[in-house]
Subunit: 259 residues, 2 copies
């Protein structure tokens, strides 16, 4: 049987330890091709490059532990997936995995996530796709306990297929031991309470740094944030049909056509 | 009664004709404050600026037809909304309107849309929000038939409130007469068939332009694409809880914890 073809990408850039970890794990499961941004793209959401040019080149990042085929790309994570599928791969990958992100993409963070935008882009193109994140923003994050969960989730996804119109958003708690297990969850309701740090430049120009605090607005015990807090890996099936179907009938009662 | 406070933003930049049209229309309904990108941000998805600085300044774009308070911002549409709510406005706006985008944000385009990311950002912060787009990419697009629908939708949204967790994605067909009416729809299933235009730079480096064709995968007569094709304005209630709730039980049947 031919080994599954696995497209690996991320948003922290092709040299990120999280990506290098994911490549090593995926090589145990299938044939790996990497197409990843040449520089960090965190917080890029689902950005794509439409008004400037894209560069891509074959690279070798790690002679021993890397994949035989790795490409860096000047674009966003969504660009990487588009370029991989159209220009680089000679067959459709069996699965696309993105990450391992340095930092949580649980709850509302999924909206801002470049890691998840790569997975969603693959999902739109009909490829089973999973975004992986470790809840530790550090570049030196400890990835030693992520292997078992990630291989389990990818193997099950390959065995069962991921339902059409859905990709998986996987977050792994920051722990110093094996996670307690894996829980399928819904996205917790939350937002960021922004605080702008206002400063003045040496030339007298005001500028801001965006900072903020995560504010959980959800006490449910079926959410990703709850599962992570209990030491579990969270898996949220995530869709790109954004229609709030349950709201259509309500808005239909407005007098939109009577003005 | 105090006039409603309306925050106006977009992704095409503060000088875009679509934004200037929206400001004029909103001044008929309420008190308008504009916080918009200082340069075009199309295709930025839900990007935010986390690793660089943000600049913002009070500007006057149009002495006669502008709003009394306008601010340009160096960031993305989502940044503009965050900055407006935290630093610029002294009270919570009654509604946030984004656009009018030069080009369609119907169907899967919502995922890549900076216009909609601004509306979604406001929605996350609990502000009723609407993104408006005209299905004409031209900078010289004809906005003469958009007024009635836009004022009707904003007035109804102010009167009824928009259900929590939902923002509206409004697309207006390119027509040379009044649209036929307004239809509440679901997001049509579609994707983009990418074609990369590969070229070589004067110094011999290969580069790509991302191009593509919209591919409709949905024959439904309740979709935004269908309504637009029939000459109606489409309104899709759009949510930022991306959980595919109907898929949770299915993924729960996988053997995730038995590896």
């Amino acid at each position: 049987m031919r080994k599954p073809l696995i497209l690996v990408t991320n948003d922290d850039g092709i040299t990120a330890p999280g990506l290098r970890t994911l490549i090593r794990l995926m090589k145990e499961i299938g044939e790996v091709i990497v197409v990843a941004p040449d520089s960090p793209q965190s917080g890029m959401g689902h950005a794509i490059t439409i008004d400037s040019t894209l560069y891509s080149k074959k690279v070798t990042i790690d002679q021993e532990d890397g994949a035989p085929h790795e490409y860096s790309c000047s674009g966003t994570p969504a660009d990487c997936v588009k370029l991989a599928l159209q220009e680089i791969l000679d067959r459709k990958p069996d699965i696309c995995v993105s990450g391992i992100n340095h930092g949580s993409n649980a709850s509302i963070n999924v909206i801002y996530s470049g890691t998840m935008s790569a997975a969603i882009e693959a999902g739109i193109e009909g490829i089973p796709a999973i975004g992986f994140s470790l809840c530790d923003y550090s570049w030196e994050a400890d990835f030693s306990f992520v292997g078992k969960s990630i291989k389990s989730i990818v193997s099950e996804a390959l065995a069962h297929g991921i339902p059409k119109g859905t990709v998986l958003n996987v977050n792994i708690p920051k722990t110093d031991a094996e996670p307690k297990g894996i829980k399928v969850c819904r996205q917790a309701k939350a937002n960021w309470k922004e605080q702008f740090d206002k400063r003045t430049s040496p030339t007298g120009k005001d500028y801001y740094w965006l900072t903020g605090e995560f504010e959980l607005l959800d006490k449910g015990e079926d959410t990703d944030i709850w599962a992570l807090g209990q030491g579990y890996v969270s898996v949220v099936p995530t869709q790109f049909d954004l229609t709030a179907h349950h709201v259509i009938s309500q808005v239909n009662n407005w007098n939109l056509n009577e003005h």
